[in-house]
């Protein structure tokens, strides 16, 4: 629903980078690999947290 706060595998805090990543790589047309490099998300365990995430708040909120 919301981005996981930390990486499941290593425990690094990844959520703080989500909004910028979403804006640049998902909404924008930048290369996700380059965006992650610039954000300093180096390990592949942390990278998959952001790459594979989908926000679902907008999907569920009408059913409150």
């Amino acid at each position: 629903m919301m981005v996981p706060v930390r990486c499941f595998t290593c425990g690094n805090v990844v959520a703080e980078h989500w909004e910028e990543f979403d804006e640049r790589a998902n909404e924008g047309d930048e290369d996700p690999e380059k965006v992650l490099d610039e954000l300093g998300v180096d390990r592949y365990c942390c990278r998959r947290m952001l790459v594979s995430h989908k926000d679902l708040v907008d999907v569920v909120s009408p059913y409150q």
């Binding site: 629903m1 706060v5 930390r6 425990g11 690094n12 805090v13 390990r43 926000d55 708040v57």
Partner: protein, 249 residues
């Protein structure tokens, strides 16, 4: 500790560092690593009292998210194991509640990252909660882990043995970590982790330097690297004295 015990930084940033430790046994190096991950007490939110939560997520889910937010940890002795610090959050939609919206009752304990989204609130939704942070160890819950992705490798020494035969194809020799070359420490990223870039046409031999370890340490922001490592060493000392007292007749 042996006489040639020595610590030298290779890379040093705010939350990430690499340093070389000489003159320790492999057992002690691993002890330090384990202490950094599981034995250094850090602050984290442990109980949350929800006054209002009309967001799309359940109280328990939000409590977990709040618990995982890293908090700055006060100096040693400032807080006991059973003392708490109260943080409160009150956000009304349409807005996103961030970790930076947490208001702490103590300046020593603040969210280490301000931009962690807790929950996106739509029009009319509201999150009002009070949270108690406690000090505890990583072995009890991952939220109390101060060190993230802590590891070490042997320091490796590279020696040039001679030239490669003239017509032999040059093969890449991949190596990661830090190498020692004539007493100089070189990170393998400087030559793209490939020794054939650094010593073209040469035959090289790699060997581990005994009792020298290159640590790679990251913190979640609870405290700086130096603090984490020294506190880890302190917890080992504490355990050692505890053991000594326990076996004394």
């Amino acid at each position: 500790m042996s006489a040639e015990y020595d610590v030298e930084f290779v890379e040093r940033e705010d939350r990430e560092a690499r340093f070389l430790v000489r003159g320790v046994t492999p057992g002690f190096a691993n002890g330090i690593r384990r202490a950094m991950v599981a034995d250094v007490p850090t602050m984290a939110i442990d109980t949350v009292r929800f006054v209002e939560n009309s967001s799309v997520m359940f109280d328990e889910q939000l409590a977990l998210r709040l618990g995982l937010v890293p908090l700055t940890t006060p100096p040693v002795g400032e807080f006991g194991e059973d003392e708490t610090v109260t943080l409160s959050i009150d956000v009304e939609g349409p807005a996103t509640a961030y970790s930076g919206d947490l208001v702490s009752s103590d300046d020593l304990v603040e969210p280490a990252d301000e931009n962690v989204p807790i929950i996106e609130l739509k029009d009319g939704q509201r999150l009002e909660a009070e949270a108690d942070a406690v000090i505890d160890r990583g072995k009890d819950h991952a939220k109390h882990q101060g060190g993230v992705a802590v590891g070490y490798r042997h320091l490796q020494r590279v020696e040039v043995e001679g030239d490669l035969p003239e017509f032999e194809d040059e093969e890449s020799r991949i190596i990661r970590g830090v190498i020692e070359d004539d007493g100089e420490l070189v990170s393998t990223s400087e030559f793209d982790h490939d020794l054939s870039n650094r010593y073209p046409g040469k035959e090289v031999r790699i060997e581990d330097v005994p009792n020298a370890f290159v640590f790679h340490v990251e913190t979640d922001g609870s405290f700086p690297i130096e603090e984490l490592v020294t506190r880890a060493a302190d917890t080992i000392a504490e355990r050692a004295t505890e053991l000594e007292d326990a076996v004394q007749l």
